[in-house]
Amino acid sequence: MKQETVAKAAVKSRAAPTVARLPALRRFTRENAPELLALVAGAALWEVLGRSLGLQWLPPFSKVMEALAQFVGSGVILANLGSSLQGLIVGFSLALILGLLLGSLMGRYRYVEKALDVYVHALFVCPSIVFAPIFFAIFGLSDASRIAIIVVYSMFVIVINTATAIRTVDPSLVEMARAFGCREAQIFTRILLPASLPLVFAGIRLGMGRAVKGMINGEMLIAFVGLGALAQRYGAQFDAAKVFAIAMVVLIIGLVSNAFVQMIDNRLTRWAD
């Protein structure tokens, strides 16, 4: 066995210098060339079509970038971005707490699972936006409505993933822990919790994506504040460049938040394959 590892180490060290010599950026570009080319080509096509066709709804790519730059420059985007993100953070945190709690209970106790699974599944698959009119009726034109929509959008995927995560922990690990004398609480903290982390994080990541959608969808309907309201306003003004720019901002929010959760996920679940 020792010979193997020595040989492997030798192979690794021979390959390493070549790759390490290229700075990280060049390596990234090289590895993702087709994707980057596709994006550049798309932007170019957008630009060409935008200029030549002169359609009201298809401004050239450059105009969209202009609008984006303008947003960042003026304070417009900041205020609305701020209120959007506030709602997102509050809503997602709530969804996280409720989702993890409910998911843990459902994963741990069979009776809880059997009692609620039908409802959780139904709420998960049905289009969450339908609850907007309901929340509007209950909370009116307020932050509570927006936050409630975000919660409904993101909570159930977290519940389902957490429940599955806890339920599918390798039973032989639980048995092993019991064989070494663990009590229930110890089994929960030492085995169930760490073992369920990968799937729970998958749920959190998905939930984050859904929360962003809930944020923007909710704002477009109950449109008095936030990026959604802006989108509606610019839409009414037939300013397509600005609307596209807002869509890009939302896309960036989605990507950044996803990357953030992914980073935490990677740190905590390096042991999983």
Binding site: K114, C126, P127, V130, A137, G209, I216, G235
Partner: protein, 255 residues
Amino acid sequence: MKKRIVLDWALRLAVFIAAVGLWELFVSTSQNFLLPRFTDVASGLFRLLFEARFWEALYISNQALILGFAISVIIGIPLGLLAGRFRWMDRVLNPYVGALLTMPVAPLIPIVIIALGLGIAARVFIVVLFAFVFITVNTRAGVRGVEASLIEMAKSFGASEGQIWRRIVIPGAMPAIFAGMRIGLGRAVTGMVMVELILVASGLGRLLLEFSGRMQSDLVFATVLAVIIEALALLAGMQALEKSITRWAPDISIG
């Protein structure tokens, strides 16, 4: 075994009754006169079922749904098959697919309206935007997921490219394709509802606005309930179809 199933359903019923009870309690103690009781909603729904305008609205809304979903399938599956089969195509499409998956489509709705107006074309287009990416992604995963050893086996018996597609890849990818269609259907319903609520020009969205404007919250809730029931029924139907066609496969869906 039977006892356990009965017990499970008894539990679910108990939860339902408890929830309704809490609802009634909440409404009766609340100041908000816009909050309908469960019984009001139920009777409202019942009344709606006998009103022509409800069925008209349902028909108009579902037009966009059915057309949109059909187009999504027609576009989505071939795209997914190509992406699954040809690595370069997959890599080229990847950033756009990824963007459409994570990006909320809603902000784009005003743009679509500028382009296509307020008619059915806009509604269909938006439904397609909501749905087709999920069909593509799942189809691609299905194709990629077909075991290489099966394809190798087919080649060893002298199968042509066409035969490999027809007898190995497509049947192998079927479960994922159907899963994609099921998820796409859910997304299509979301798109349909979304566009109607934002446009409120026709169909169920318009109904909702009417009821909302006239403070008939029991009917608002009832309409929402109707949409939920329709969505669940469609999805259950799709799932039944899926299960019957792909009885051999495990569950591996995206979205």
